[in-house]
Symmetry: C2
Subunit: 164 residues, 2 copies
């Protein structure tokens, strides 16, 4: 009994010292590892909710984006959207810059596995605590519904930004 | 004579097939290799000239940004700013997304080499053709002057965006 307590205590210390691993989304999708190191696909700014975004992609997605192979995106593509509240730059009043971090959200392409939602698995983690979004697996209907206007673009809003 | 012409022709073919390498900026700075693969430091949107931007960094800069070691940024840091004209998303009218590519611009930190301009070497390449900006090396005075409001932030406008 005492040994169990000691091990449990040690486990708690290790978990604390190694940082918190985000829980899985209610549909089972895990927070993609290393997404903060992914390459840029495009920025965007939304005036309806005052957020700045950078859309990034894993290697499969970035290769597809650069090759113009995005309708459909190939299986294995993961698109990540990093979202911040916009704020005004203190030294440049007409510049909108990132304030608080809002969430990171992802679309995971697997045409067979996610056939019911356009071939994409959706997931979102809220805030700096990276709390999974959604009470149960049905949360994806909200994501999927919102993406309906871009059904003809493989359900993806993002058009990869032009680069030399 | 004939051999020289053949070699010149071969050289032209090779140059064409391997893509155009951008000319150096008038102050001698070369377009940083691989900048399109650099990691995100922050997005921004400017309403005075209707542009969307992503600020990226080389490994030295990204490590410094994540460690909060940015005043001053360490020697070897290179910050890149990728700039597009903003346009409206056809399927989401309140979303501003990247249109034409405007330019890529860079700040190269070398406190000794660039002591006269705050320790930073400035350079910019225009458009998809990546034409170096500036008629002569004095173009940096324009860059440096514009950065004067952020003298106390090591002459850098960008505050690294918060990430979990």
């Amino acid at each position: 009994m005492k040994r169990v307590s000691l091990l449990a205590g040690l486990g708690a210390v290790l978990a604390f010292s190694s940082g918190h691993a985000a829980d899985r989304a209610p549909n089972g999708i895990a927070l993609p590892a290393g997404y903060k190191d992914w390459k840029v696909i495009a920025p965007s700014h939304r005036t309806d909710n005052n957020t700045l975004r950078v859309i990034v992609g894993n290697d499969v997605a970035v290769s597809a984006a650069r090759a113009g192979n995005t309708n459909p995106w190939p299986d294995g593509s993961i698109l990540g959207k990093l979202v911040w509240k916009d704020t005004t730059h203190s030294a440049w009043p007409t510049a909108q810059v990132p304030g608080d971090f809002v969430h990171a959200e992802f679309m995971v392409k697997d045409a067979a596995k996610y056939a019911k939602t356009g071939g994409w698995g959706f997931a979102r983690w809220l805030g700096m605590a990276q709390t999974p979004y959604g009470k149960d697996a049905n949360f994806v209907q909200e994501c999927f519904g919102c993406h309906t206007p871009v059904k003809n673009n493989d359900w993806v809003f993002t058009h990869p930004a032009k680069l030399p």
